[in-house]
Amino acid sequence: MKSVLPLSTVLAALFVLWYGFAVWMNSPLQRDLFANAGNTAYSSSDLAVAALNMERPKLPAPHQVAGELYHLIIATAPDSKRSLVYHASITLQETLIGFFFGSLFGIGLAVAIVFVRPLERSLMPWIVASQTVPIIALAPMIVVILNQFDIGGMTPKAVIAAYLSFFPITVGMVKGLRSPDPLQLDLMRTYSATSSQMLFKLRTPSSLPFFFASMKIGAAAALVGAVIAEVTKSEDGGLGARLLAGSYYGQTVQIWAALFTAAALSGALVGAIGLVGRLTLRKMAFPT
């Protein structure tokens, strides 16, 4: 593990910076709090310690976030509505459902584009346009429209997750399915291979490195989509709902704890896909 030292160095630097920023950002507020309480005889170290342990700091200190994470993940029952495990599992379900259908749609679109050349010109601008609409504006519309058809619960959120995840998968898979070199394609032509043989025996295996790369981006995008959808429609819970509730009540520690949980979830998803990818590609003798 050659990466341990550089990684931990960066991590340590981040912690130092974070603590520095926390003191700098929270001190003015803490000074006011001291003043209101009539406390004037405090040293600067008193101020720093207090600024790092406020109830509603502008920027919570790492140990506060860690404490909140411990409290809400380990010390709280997983089925409690305060538990981050409970909310993370809601987000994870929406993400996975959305990611699954987003991948199917994205791959299907890529296959269509590769096989029917004119589709690239006619579809690609729309696909790109679909991603330029800010999702935060679109998400409530999707929820409202689906609600009109009595589709509620997890589905609208999975739809929004799918909406964000299909795009990188389509772009990556189009590139992947087109990655065979001219010689490999000519070879198939000399055998008079059919389009589907070309797809399954050449294009699909060649696209695998691109497939796993796109899946990683798609999974992370799906999680972002699910969280945004939860902010839009927060009554069913989820990490996005926790973010929203935290910002209503100025619970910055809660927000940061939810953020870290979301990041960890995303990291775990991407890591799992990366692992499966590495093992598969190695087995198929791709240079990895």
């Binding site: 070199d181 010689l183 490999q184 000519d186 070879l187 198939m188 032509r189 000399t190 055998y191 008079s192 291979a193 043989q197 025996k201 050449l202 295996p205 695998l208 198929m284 003798a285 791709f286 240079p287």
Partner: protein, 266 residues
């Protein structure tokens, strides 16, 4: 030899073939007025400088390029019919083995595509590996093989479905001299044993003279046939033949032909 052969015995029959590529710099005449008949069982080499259209001619025979004018018949069919009939095996400059397949499964690829049953595939792959002296390497991946072995695997792949016609585009161009000599001898034995018709593109005069029954010397701008040289060495010749005066005489004629074809733009 072509004079003696009956007309329906021509595997390749090219008449007044021209091919012009439209490029952004204007049209490029890759082939112009090419006439050529090749009888069954011949080994014909195409030699000439870069841009003389030898690869293009081979690709046109294989239906990988479309002629602009003239006619071309492969086994009496159009190239596209011949391709759909799987009339030929093509060996490219690079082995073009699929890296995710083992050597055996690369050789089985055309058989899979042509719907050959699994058991039959296995026996044919074993025979193919044996033919190119790669028995025992079937389970290896391409990257575990040397360049020469990879190219031998690609020859086995081209032969796996037993086409009568073998089209080879500088198959040994990227290999060193010693490996190339060895493969030339093996290829000659293979041709002798199977009686296939071979079209072979090369840059090397000794290679062409050693392997061929006829050598087609081509010249560039526009790509055309400059000369066709008969080369009647016994089928069971070995590499030693390259020291003989007869061999050197044919090699000299090829060299002269190449120089003449080239002279106008030197």
């Amino acid at each position: 030899m072509p004079e003696a052969a009956k007309s329906d015995d021509f595997v390749i029959d090219v008449t007044d073939l021209s091919l012009t590529f439209e490029t952004s710099d204007g049209p490029v005449k890759a082939l112009s007025g090419v006439d050529l008949k090749i009888a069954r069982g011949e080994f014909v080499s195409f030699i000439g400088p870069s841009g003389c259209g030898k690869t293009t001619l081979l690709r046109t025979v294989a239906d990988l390029e479309q002629p602009s004018s003239g006619s071309i018949k492969v086994n009496g069919m159009t190239p596209s019919e011949a391709r759909l009939n799987r009339a030929y095996g093509y060996v490219f400059q690079a082995p073009a083995l699929y890296p995710w397949r083992t050597v055996a499964s690369n050789i089985a690829l055309p058989l899979e595509i042509m719907g050959v049953p699994k058991a039959e595939r296995a026996t044919r792959v074993a025979r193919g590996l044996d033919l190119v002296n790669l028995s025992g390497f079937g389970n290896k991946y391409p990257w575990q093989l040397s360049g020469g072995m990879q190219q031998r695997a690609s020859i086995a792949r081209a032969l796996s479905f037993d086409p009568d016609l073998l089209l080879m585009d500088e198959p040994f161009g990227a290999l060193d001299e010693i490996v190339r000599d060895m493969l030339n001898e093996q290829l000659l034995r293979l041709w002798e044993k199977t009686g296939k018709t071979a079209l072979f593109v090369t840059h090397s005069i000794p290679e062409a003279v050693f392997l061929s029954t006829r050598i087609v010397v081509m010249s560039p701008r526009p790509g055309r046939i400059h000369d066709v040289i008969e080369c009647k060495f016994p089928r069971d010749r070995t590499l030693d033949i390259r020291e003989t005066p007869a061999f050197l005489e044919v090699a000299n004629r090829v060299r002269h032909g190449l120089r003449e074809g080239h002279s106008y733009d030197v």
